[in-house]
Chain length 247, copies 2
């Protein structure tokens, strides 16, 4: 594909453009020390390290967002995208799985932010469910790569990652149950039952996210139907929850 048969990994490493495009400056040895290139904030040693670590994470997310699923991406791809030599990866992560766990944590943070935002805005008075779903839909769209990752790794990724995601889901469900409690929703239910129901809500949410992300671009009608279905499913769940009697 490339013109030179002896092109090393670095040739395309600094294009910083989308790869697989014939670049004319293949040989230009303008190798400005990247350390200087991204002098945005602090420059202590640890700050710099943390910054490239974050760059690796972001690159992984970017690649996931750009089509290829989590399990399809490789160490070299990531370092390439991050403007780093492959070996440099090991200064930050033992292997891809460790990077994956960082992504899971980031996913957890995203979910928590979702709850926080929903809390802050307060529940829409008339149709709280539809309102919450709207917030969620926006979140999924805005941080699509994160949800793509979660959707892809929840069933796909390595054992360790699946477990980590499950844990994060469980925490999220707990927090949600707590919110519902303080909000006074479903006051008759035991905490255990509430947790069980929130678990159901969470999986439904994540399934919906996966569906939303696979929507063909622009089809607003299909999206509307999908969202409508999602809202109704949640309504069924809460209807059932309201009628639940702890045995």
């Amino acid at each position: 594909m490339s013109i030179h048969s002896k092109t090393s990994d670095r040739t395309s490493a600094y294009t910083l453009q989308r790869a697989l495009r014939p670049t004319e400056n293949d040989l230009s040895t303008v190798r400005r020390t990247l350390q200087k290139a991204d002098t945005d904030t602090g420059n202590s040693r640890v700050e710099q390290k943390e910054r490239t670590r974050q760059r690796l994470i972001d690159s992984a997310l970017a690649l996931i967002g750009a089509g290829s699923g989590y399990n399809a991406l490789s160490l070299r791809e990531i370092t390439r995208e991050a403007g780093l030599v492959p070996a440099g990866f090991y200064r930050h992560f033992r292997d891809l799985d460790e990077l994956g766990l960082a992504l899971v944590e980031m996913g957890g943070v995203t979910l928590r932010r979702l709850l926080r935002e929903a809390r802050r805005d307060g529940i829409p008075p008339t149709d709280m469910l539809r309102g919450s779903v709207q917030i969620y839909r926006r979140f999924v769209a805005e941080r699509s790569e994160v949800f793509r990752f979660i959707a892809g790794a929840r069933g796909g990724g390595s054992r360790a990652i699946r477990d980590a995601i499950r844990t994060e889901e469980s925490h999220f469900a707990s927090e949600m149950a707590h919110d519902l409690r303080t909000l006074g929703t479903l006051p008759e239910l035991s905490s255990a039952t509430l947790q069980m129901i929130c678990g159901l809500v969470v999986t439904t949410m994540l399934n919906a996210a996966s569906d939303i992300l696979d929507l063909p671009e622009g089809h607003t009608q299909a999206e509307r139907e999908l969202i409508e279905n999602f809202v109704r499913q949640l309504r069924v769940v809460f209807l059932g929850a309201a009628r639940w009697r702890d045995s």
Copy 2:
């Protein structure tokens, strides 16, 4: 890893044992023509072809069952397991995705069999939900590779495969809705609503399958809790369904 540095692909192709194990007959040229080896049933040309095609599919499933997720497996791995040279793959599938679609279809068949069996046994009189879940649990255990594949490819796999799985899920939900209808369950609901609810049930089922498959071996207690949670979630759904009023 292997003793010979020039080992071709074929060295381990015929071990037929689990790979990665030092075999002593590496050099034994006992290359019995495999065509003769599996003379089980008919031997017409097309039958033979269909048989190795099935062998490829089975090998893929076996590899999935043996740990590595769907997206992690490779053409060469599969042909190795199937006792076939890599190039032979193309006589049966254009690429891995096409094999994947065959797996999806097989998954659909499995799900239909599940419904058929549940229908045949009739719904347990006292606790139909728990009974159905028992049937399901057994199914997941018996055909674990299939469910592993579905769970892994539903969010992970290529676009085409995700879509195919979604279609299969939808069909399954429809069939389930039909069964509920003829069974007289939830007679007041419109077909659309019933379909929506069955969709929710199906995703809940598949999520549960994923959880079941990741259970640490032998922990009967954890499994019991998981199943119990699963049953309760379904109960919530059906409770909600019973209270649903089409607007």
